[in-house]
């Protein structure tokens, strides 16, 4: 079964130890969504994925990896 992994937590800490709240504000989503993403419980839309990558100042592929 296809799976999408992410490096949000690691990249968040590498980005000046950004908090979940800060990332949520920058990406325009709730902190609960960031938590769900980091726990692998939720797969974001393309738009939100791009917003998160931009907030972390990295490319989309650095944040999300597709294992199909």
């Amino acid at each position: 079964m296809a799976r999408i992994n992410n490096q949000i937590r690691r990249l968040r800490f590498e980005n000046g130890e950004m908090t979940q709240e800060e990332l949520a504000q920058r990406a325009g989503c709730t902190r609960q969504t960031i938590i769900a993403l980091e726990q692998g419980k939720y797969v974001p839309s393309i738009e939100l994925a791009f917003k998160i990558a931009r907030a972390l100042s990295v490319s989309l592929e650095e944040v999300f990896q597709y294992e199909g």
């Binding site: 949520a24 504000q25 325009g28 989503c29 709730t30 609960q32 969504t33 769900a36 939720y42 974001p44 839309s45 738009e47 939100l48």
Partner: protein, 130 residues
């Protein structure tokens, strides 16, 4: 305004609204509930606009969609079965069971009709057809 404060205000408004509607029902004032509900919704909307934080995002909508679809299926099947059963039981005597069953059955029909219309609308909107 923080979301936490808005939540407290919302609970307070709901309690007041529930109290007013309960009083209206017990005192027989049928004209009170509708303006009370409208006023409560307007007040909540005004306070909601002052909340700084992102409260609703795509995950919340996605969860609501799944929950709504599940509720529709469960209620639709249950109400249809119960409605038909009550109509059948009350058929001969035209008792309250018959009226309740009929109300329930037609409610489900209305719900399914609304769902069907909405489904057609959103299917056309997102299918690329013109």
């Amino acid at each position: 305004m923080s979301f936490k404060r808005f939540t407290l205000i919302r609970i307070l408004i709901i309690i007041i609204m529930a109290g007013l509607i309960s009083w209206a029902i017990t005192s027989g004032n049928a004209w009170i509930p509708i303006p009370v509900i409208i006023a409560a919704l307007i007040i909540l909307l005004l306070f909601r606009r002052r909340v700084r934080e992102v409260v609703v995002d795509e995950r919340v909508y996605s969860t609501a969609e799944k929950a709504s679809f599940f509720a529709l299926r469960v209620f639709g099947i249950a109400a249809a079965v119960i409605g038909v059963t009550l109509v059948t039981l009350g058929w001969q005597s035209s008792s309250d069971l018959y009226k309740i069953g009929l109300t329930l059955a037609f409610s489900v029909c209305g719900l399914v009709l609304i769902y069907y219309i909405a489904h057609i609308y959103y299917n056309r909107k997102y299918s690329g057809k013109k």
